[in-house]
Amino acid sequence: MALLEIHNVTRRFGDFTAVDNVSISIKAGEFFTLLGPSGCGKTTLLRMIAGFDLPDSGQILLDGKDMVGTPPEKRPIHTVFQSYALFPHMTVADNIAFPLKMAGTTPDEIRSRVREAMDDVRLSNFGNRFPQELSGGQKQRVAFARGLVNRPRLLLLDEPLGALDAKLREEMQIELINLQKERGVTFVFITHAQNEALALSHRIAVMNQGKIEQLDEPSRIYGFPRNRFVADFIGKISIMNAQVLETAPSHLTLSVAGLGEVTAPSKEDVKVGDTGVLAIRPEQVRISHHAEEVELKNHFIGKVQGFLYVGDVTTYIVELPNGARIEALLPNSAPGRAKFFEAGDPVAVSWRHDAGTFLND
């Protein structure tokens, strides 16, 4: 049985539907992420799981028990807030002890559990400090410890890494993965940062306008986006209008205006004549000097329009004869060299027959 079941949950504010008939089932021990742009309904959904808001219709079941009518303080669910919400008048130790005190744990037990929790987040010597004396990363770790100390069935994390700088964020991501593994607590994480979601989660639900666009493992979300929104929202992707010419068990043949025939991996629910887009990731596109005139599938001649150097890789923007732009990515293996092609260079771009995805309109 799933730990948390969300059944057809809808929440409206006036005429605005914040959460629109969402169903999710989360397994015990899972690191589950709700990913979406701001205003997509992920925070509303989180608040309903925590109990701060109630669904207009639908059910939220924890361990098979309906949570409607159980106030937040009675739910075995704790939250790590975006702003951390540490109590400024309490020391680190008192902050972490708070949920235990509320639960009526004995003082001896509180002392040992708090010590253990502080060790877990590497803050053993910070018990007497006040939150305002801590750095952002330390505050973050206190918030994690406070959320986990009373062993909740579910820990909700509301964009907890949003306020940290990039380097610290990466460190905290690794720490968060380890913490979750050690503690075995189920995490529901919300974020608008797609790379964070991909790095941390067992499964991701991509949300947009109150609905779930796709729910899957990170590699499948990235590799096989189900629609244009998911493809666009997660990672970089080049998109060209296409129409289906032929469907075979192994592949689809598409017609792309100005390019001719292109193949793409086969997909269910696609019929001959369907229109849509061909979407392809920059790292799947090979770019080379166009010296060799070969007649291959998915091989086209274009011109470098521009490039974007970010250190480890350079992204080249190539204009194809049909006017479409495709991005290709090359690792910068030669030290001190920012690019292998200049703007205006004629180049060949190609991709494997199993790269790219056709997305119906």
Partner: protein
């Protein structure tokens, strides 16, 4: 923070803090010293003060410096009683103001932003009319012929209790004190409560705290600075207040404020009036010091 180690910074610091320091020096330290000096002198024959040095022409009367007024203060238990009674009235007024003001301040702080300023305006609105007029209005409200008095006595009569006189009683003094000083408690409390981060209450609730625990463990401790400034703004003025006991109190309801006022305006004994003022200032300083000591941030080691 600006580190004050360059010369320009030091000059700037003095320029900024100089005027208020000067103000305090001229209008607080100097008068206090004058009062201290006055308390050591002898009263003049027709009010005012007697000369310190022997006058040139041989006039009868006393002159010089003396500690007599302090001796007088400590020799009569009456003064200690009046001090104690005044402190009791001040403490009671402060407590009642706190109990009445806290829910109101919390209500204002948690209502919608656009209504808050209006509500604060309503709290300070009584200041728009004269203080004495408002106190005299209470004479009418508490007077024997008022609807309020009739209602109270009818209520007491139903239980077989003899009718009471509300006016010219310690009760009337307390009502007046609380009425006058209530806004001074509401405003600092509101200013404090308004700044609380609502996420803290969500966090407390999320971590298992019920409504009472959320108040007692989060809202109340965070509001203590507001409670202390409100208490100071009520307690200290009540101690010195003489108009309310004069108008609403009976003959027995004399407080320090009345006593000091009488020394200057009635019996014209300036030195003793100054002595009483100095004793009052010392007592207030002692109490504030004690309060600050108890309110200091506690650390784990001391718990």
């Amino acid at each position: 923070m600006i580190k004050g180690n360059t010369k320009a910074n030091r000059t700037a610091k003095w320029l900024v803090s100089g005027p208020p320091l000067l103000f305090l020096l001229v209008f607080f330290v100097a008068p206090s010293l004058i009062m201290l000096f006055t308390s050591l002198r002898l009263p003049g024959e027709f009010g005012g003060l007697a000369p310190i040095a022997a006058p040139a022409e041989a006039v009868h009367g006393e002159y010089g410096l003396t500690l007599e007024t302090y001796q007088f203060f400590f020799s009569d238990i009456l003064y200690a009683e009046i001090f104690l009674k005044s402190f009791a009235v001040a403490a009671a007024s402060t407590l009642i103001c706190l109990i009445m003001a806290y829910p109101l301040a919390l209500l204002i702080a948690r209502s919608e932003k656009r209504f808050r300023n209006l509500m604060v305006l309503l709290v300070v609105l009584p200041f728009a009319s004269n203080f004495l007029i408002r106190i005299y209005a209470w004479m009418i409200i508490l007077g024997p012929e008022s609807v309020f008095s009739h209602f109270i006595n009818a209520f007491l009569g139903a239980f077989g209790i003899a009718p009471v006189t509300l006016l010219f009683s310690p009760f009337a003094v307390l009502v007046g004190m609380v009425y006058v000083h209530l806004p001074f408690m509401v405003l600092p409390l509101y200013t404090n409560l308004e700044k609380h981060d609502p996420a803290l209450l969500d966090a407390a609730q999320d971590l298992g705290a019920n409504a009472w625990q959320r108040f007692w463990r989060v809202t109340w401790p965070l509001s203590l600075p507001g409670v202390f400034s409100g208490a100071a703004l009520v307690f200290i003025p009540v101690l010195g207040m003489f108009a309310v006991p004069d108008i609403l109190g009976g003959t027995g309801d004399i407080l320090i404020g009345n006593l000091i006022k009488d020394q200057f305006l009635g019996t014209r004994d300036w030195p003793f009036g100054s002595t009483l003022s100095i004793m009052l200032t010392l007592a207030v300083l002692a109490i504030t010091g004690l309060a600050a000591w108890f309110a200091r941030p506690a650390t784990i080691a001391e718990r």
